[in-house]
Amino acid sequence: MIVNDTKLPDLPPPSSTSGIIGWLRINLFSTPFYSVLTLVVGYLLWSTLIPAFQWIFIDSDWVGDSRDACTSGGACWVFISVRMDQFIYGFYPETEYWRINILFVMLALLIGALIYEGTPKKGWIAAFALTAFPVISFFLLYGGSFGLEVVETHKWGGLSLTLVLALVGIVASLPIGIFLALGRRSNMTAVRSFCTVFIEMWRGVPLITILFMASVMLPLFVPEEIDFDKLLRALIGITLFQSAYMAEVIRGGLQAIPKGQYEAADALGLSYWKKMGLIVLPQALKIMIPGIVNTFIALFKDTSLVLIIGLFDLLAIVQAALSDPKWLGYSIEGYAFVAFVFWVFCFSMSRYSQYLERKLHTGHGAR
C-alpha cells in the first residue's frame, strides 16, 4: 500500500484563466459576439485615436509668436499660447494682473483648506469663503478704493470672468435657496405658495430666457436714474435661476433629516429659527454638499451662456479670437482648449462630489 505523506505542490492555474491571456479571454473575447465587438471597437479606436494623438502632440507646434510658426500640419497651439493672457484675464489692464493673481491664489488656498480633511476650524473658513472673500474679491477686482485703479466691468473677461460668474452665482444663491426651501416646507399657505411658484417658475424656463429678461427687462423695472451694469444684470439673472435649483437641493436635504429631530427640537421648546438654525440645517447642509457641488458643476457649465448677451467669458473670448483675420482656421484648437479647461474643472468637481457621496453613504443600502 502506497501512502503519500507529503503534500504535492499545487499546480499552477490553467494558462487560459490567468496572466495576460486569461485576462484577454475573460474581458475581451469571452463569447463570439464579444470577440467581434472587441475587434470592431478596437479598430475604430485605433483608426481615430492614433491620428488624433498625432495631431495633438506629435505633429503640433507649441512655440512661436505668429501663425508662421505653425508649419508641421498638426494642431497649432501657438494660437492659444500667444493669447493665453487674454483668455485668462480678458481685457483687464496688464499692469493690474497681480490683483487677479492674488484672488486665484486665495481661492486655491480656500478650496484646498476646505477639501483637506484635517483642516482645523473648517466652519470658520467656510464662513470666510462665503462672506468676507466675495467682498475682498470685489474690492480687488473693481478697485476704486485703497488707492487701486478702477477697472470697469466691461474689461473683465476670460477665465476670470467665468469664475466670477460661477462663484457669485453659488455664493449668492445659497442663502436665497435656504430661505426658499424653508418657505416651501412652511406651514403658512401664503409663504409656501409664493416659494413654490417662484421655484417652479425659474426651474421651468431656460437660462437664456432669464438672461434675456435680465438684460432687457431689468432696466425697465427700475427708475431710469439707476443704471444697471451689464455684468450685474447677468449676475442677477444667474442668481435667480440658481437659487431655484439650490432650493430644491436644500429641500431634499431637509426632507432627509428624520422627523424625530424636528420633534425633539419642538419638545425642547426651541423657536422656529433656533430649531432650523441649530438642529436641522447643520445636519441637512452637511448631507447636501454633494448636491450643491453638482448644481455648481451645472452652473459652471451654464456660465458660458453669457456669450449670448454679449459678455466675454472664456468661451466668448476664444470665440471672438477665432474671427481674428490673423488667426483664421484654428477653430478646432480654440474649442479644444476651452473644452479642456471646462473639463478639468467639472471633472475634478464631479469626482469630489462622488467621493463625498461615498464617504457620507454609511447606511446599509445596496451599493
Binding site: N27, L28, S30, Y34, L37, T38, V41, G42, L45, N187, M188, T189, A190, V191, F194, E200, M201, R203, G204, V205, P206, L207, I208, T209, F212, M213, V216, M217, P219, L220, F221, V222, P223, E224, I297, K301, D302, S304, L305, L307, I308, L315, Q319, L322, S331, I332, Y335, V338, A339, F342, W343, C346, F347, S350, A366
Partner: protein
C-alpha cells in the same frame, strides 16, 4: 419665580397676541403678501413710465403686424409678409422639431451607452465610460459651436459634396433623397393600420391566454412580421406606388429631395450627445437598482436569460429610470434654446431675438416665450405624475 410656583397660579389663559403662533403666522403672511404686491406695483409702474417715455405701446397688437424678415427653416408656409404671430408659431414648431428629434436620438444614444457601461467587455465598457465622462463635463454651448463652426462649416462646397449612398453632405447641409407617394400608396397605409390593430388585438389575446393557461405566444416575432410583412405585401401588389426624389446638383446648389440645414444638424448632434451622457447614467443606475435576488429568483423559476431581462429586470428598472429620464427630456427641450447661438430659427432665436429687436415689445415677448416653456414643463410633469401613480408599488 419660586413664589409663583408655590402659589400654583396658572399663567394668564390668553397669551399676548404676538406670542400666539397662529396670529403671528397670519400677520407675517399678510405682511409678505403686501410686500410682494407692493414690489410688483412698483416695478409695473416703473415699467409703464419707462415704456411710455420710449414711445412703446404695450399690448399684443404687434402680433398682427407684418414681420418683414425671412426665416431659414419654416414648417408652416411663411415669408416676410406674414405677421409676427406667425413667426411665433414658426419658431415654436422649430423648437418642437429639434426637441422631438433630439429626444429620440438622445434616448437611443443614452440606452446604448448605459448598457455598454455595464458590459462585461472591457473595451466597450471603457469606451462608454470615456464617452460619458468627457461629454458630460463640457458645456453644451461649446459643443454646439464646435459642431457648427469647427466641423460643419469647413465641409466642402456643394460642387465637391461628400456622397454617402445617395445623400450629399456639404457646407449647406445634408441633402437626402425623399420618398414621393403616388396614388396607390393609401392602400399601403390602410394595410399598416390594419396590422397595428391586429397587433393590439394579439397583445390582448396573449395576455388573456397567459392568465388562463400560463402559456405564452411569441408575440414579438408575429407582430414584427405583421407590421412589416402586411404593408410590404400590399406595396408589391399595388405595383410599388412610391418613388424617390433624389437631390441633383443644379447651378450652385442641390435641388430636390429633403435638406437638413447645418444649424439643425449641429444642434441635434450636440443636444443628443450631451443629453445622452446623462441618460446613460440614469439607465445604468436603473439597471443596477434591480436587486440581484430578482435575477436569481427568475433563474430559479427556470426563465431563460432573455426572458429574465424582458420580464423581470426591464419592467422593474423602468420604474426607476423613467422619472429622471423625463426631467432629462425637459432639460433637452429647454437647452434647445441655445439654438440662438448658431442661428437655428427656434422660438428664442426668432421670437425673443429678431422679433424683440424689431418691435421692442420686450415684456410681452419675454412673457410669451417663458409661458411656452412653462406650459411644456407643466404638461410633461402632469403626465409624469399620472405615470408615477399608475406605476407606483402598492404597499401594504
Amino acid at each position: 419665580m419660586p413664589s409663583d410656583v408655590n402659589k400654583g397660579v396658572a399663567p394668564s389663559s390668553k397669551p399676548k397676541f404676538w406670542n400666539d403662533p397662529d396670529k403671528r403666522a397670519m400677520l407675517f403672511q399678510v405682511l409678505m403678501v403686501l410686500t410682494v404686491l407692493g414690489f410688483f406695483a412698483y416695478i409695473i409702474s416703473n415699467a409703464l413710465y419707462n415704456l411710455e417715455k420710449r414711445g412703446i405701446t404695450t399690448g399684443f397688437a404687434f402680433l398682427d403686424q407684418s414681420a418683414g424678415f425671412e426665416i431659414l427653416l419654416a414648417l408652416l408656409p411663411y415669408d416676410a409678409t406674414y405677421s409676427f404671430g406667425r413667426t411665433f408659431l414658426v419658431g415654436l414648431l422649430n423648437t418642437l422639431l429639434v426637441s422631438f428629434l433630439g429626444v429620440i436620438l438622445a434616448t437611443v444614444i443614452g440606452f446604448v451607452m448605459g448598457i455598454a457601461r455595464l458590459s462585461q467587455n472591457w473595451l466597450v465598457n471603457k469606451v462608454a465610460t470615456a464617452y460619458i465622462e468627457i461629454f458630460r463635463n463640457i458645456p453644451l454651448l461649446l459643443q454646439i459651436l464646435f459642431w457648427y463652426v469647427a466641423v460643419l462649416q469647413p465641409l466642402p462646397l456643394p460642387r465637391a459634396s461628400i456622397e454617402i449612398g445617395g445623400a450629399f453632405l456639404n457646407n449647406r447641409g445634408l441633402y437626402l433623397p425623399w420618398p414621393v407617394f403616388e396614388s396607390g400608396f393609401s392602400l399601403v397605409m390602410i394595410a399598416l393600420a390594419i396590422a397595428i390593430c391586429a397587433v393590439v388585438w394579439l397583445l390582448r389575446w396573449n395576455h388573456k391566454r397567459q392568465d388562463a393557461t400560463g402559456e405564452r405566444f411569441p408575440v414579438l416575432w408575429t407582430s414584427l412580421a405583421l407590421l412589416i410583412g402586411l404593408p410590404l405585401l400590399v406595396y408589391v401588389l399595388a405595383g410599388s406606388p412610391m418613388s424617390w426624389d433624389e437631390p441633383v446638383l443644379k447651378g450652385f446648389n442641390f435641388k430636390g429631395g429633403a435638406t437638413i440645414i447645418p444649424e439643425l444638424m449641429a444642434l441635434l448632434i450636440a443636444l443628443s450627445v450631451y443629453t445622452g451622457t446623462f441618460i446613460a447614467e440614469i439607465v445604468r443606475s436603473g439597471i443596477l437598482a434591480v436587486s440581484h435576488g430578482q435575477t436569481e429568483a427568475a433563474g430559479a423559476l427556470g426563465l431563460n436569460k432573455s426572458k429574465t431581462l424582458r420580464l423581470i429586470v426591464v419592467p422593474q428598472s423602468m420604474r426607476v429610470i423613467i422619472p429622471p429620464l423625463t426631467s432629462q427630456y425637459l432639460n433637452l427641450i429647454k437647452n434647445s434654446s441655445l439654438a440662438t447661438a448658431i442661428g437655428y430659427p427656434d422660438l428664442v432665436s426668432v421670437f425673443m431675438g429678431t422679433t424683440l429687436n424689431q418691435t421692442g415689445q420686450a415684456i410681452e415677448i419675454i412673457f410669451m416665450t417663458m409661458a411656452v416653456y412653462l406650459t411644456i414643463n407643466l404638461i410633461v410633469s402632469m403626465l409624469m405624475n399620472l405615470y408615477n401613480k399608475r406605476m407606483s408599488l402598492v404597499e401594504r
